[in-house]
Symmetry: C2
Subunit: 217 residues, 2 copies
């Protein structure tokens, strides 16, 4: 006999995610679930995105980490509401964690919630958080072969942010090979090359996101 443990866990997660999605829609809040490896520049990308969008939209951030609250502190230092979730070992966020974080936010005054998932290219892929879009970040130092090795996350992403492009010459990163293998997995997701800490390329990425937010307002 084989017991499938994954299906009941996912089913419970998805039911709560559907409730969250209805609640976000009712308040016209766009929710972005950001997936990436450790150290790919998720927090830097969020800070650059906030800079680009804060004049038009009211933004809050939900930070998911195994441990520590350093990311939430960086966001709060910019005058943006941030809720830290510590998963205490779990390798991904689940909708029940998001529900608790959202209960601490005033949805009525928000236009955008950015969820920074746990640094992991695998586990967060399967979990619906009630978001409007999952977007992934890959950083140049990770290498252009990552779509071959972690296909799932490239398949679920509605956009791919390629971060740290200012270090392209330092690493042996083949942009053409990268784009080709992303296209095989995901024919439609736009690829945004950026250098988050320097603000390079952020405008195009932020405008894509802004367009998505305006659609639901």
């Amino acid at each position: 006999m084989q017991i499938d443990l994954k299906q009941p866990i996912l089913q419970k997660n998805d039911e709560l995610a559907a409730e969250l999605r209805a609640r976000f829609a009712e308040h016209h809040v766009f929710v972005l679930d950001l997936l990436a490896s450790p150290g790919s520049g998720k927090t830097s990308t969020i800070l650059a995105t906030i800079d680009a969008l804060r004049d038009e939209f009211n933004i809050a951030v939900i930070e998911g980490d195994i441990a520590s609250n350093v990311d939430a502190e960086k966001i709060k230092a910019q005058g943006i509401a941030a809720v830290q979730i510590n998963t205490g070992g779990a390798c991904h966020l689940e909708s029940a964690m998001i529900k608790r974080a959202v209960d601490a936010l005033d949805l009525e005054r928000l236009d955008l919630i950015i969820v920074e998932n746990v640094g992991n290219l695998v586990c967060p892929t399967d979990f619906d958080l009630g978001e409007n879009a999952k977007v992934m970040i890959l950083s140049v130092p990770e290498g252009h072969d990552k779509p071959l090795k972690y296909p799932g996350v490239f398949q679920v992403a509605e956009a791919v942010v390629l971060n740290k492009v200012d270090t392209m010459s330092v690493f042996d990163f083949d942009r053409e090979a990268f784009d080709a293998s992303v296209r095989q997995l995901n024919p439609t997701a736009p690829i945004f090359p950026i250098a988050a800490t320097k603000g390079e390329g952020v405008e195009e990425w932020a405008e894509w996101l802004a367009e998505r937010i305006r659609e639901i307002q």
Copy 2:
């Protein structure tokens, strides 16, 4: 009622890992389980380690990936036996996967098996594979704050390889802060700064590993 799913899964894994450990000991084979994020340079580090140790030891590699066999092909191109495990979605290797891979190797003629785990700083931490040592790689572009965010892997590692140190000046990596936070989690693990693709620092790391292998021969 709450059902703890993790314990029975781990218990079954650990029982098989104990059998594997006995089998490795009987054949005097040292098994290294290598943990790291995607793109931290696991395969490059393995290639550099093979270069440093192949005159003294007979080596084989077990490659763990969600998908693809590009890493095993790189190893085989160096004339080293390599078995590719595709987890098909699972975020870590388990002892049952290692058993199947080991059945394809001739333990009698081997001194060292290097297991390249799935790129993930979280999930592989909990799974005993029957190895003699877990070692982790962090790469400089990932940032010096990673011990705070992924403490578990730094706690289980018997050594920490800090890769891509040739890019230290490109990234804002604080070596002192990194060492201090590793020390808080793990007072004894040596930290080996290397640049795997350039061969820098590999000698010290390889000598530490060689010493461990000689102990069991």
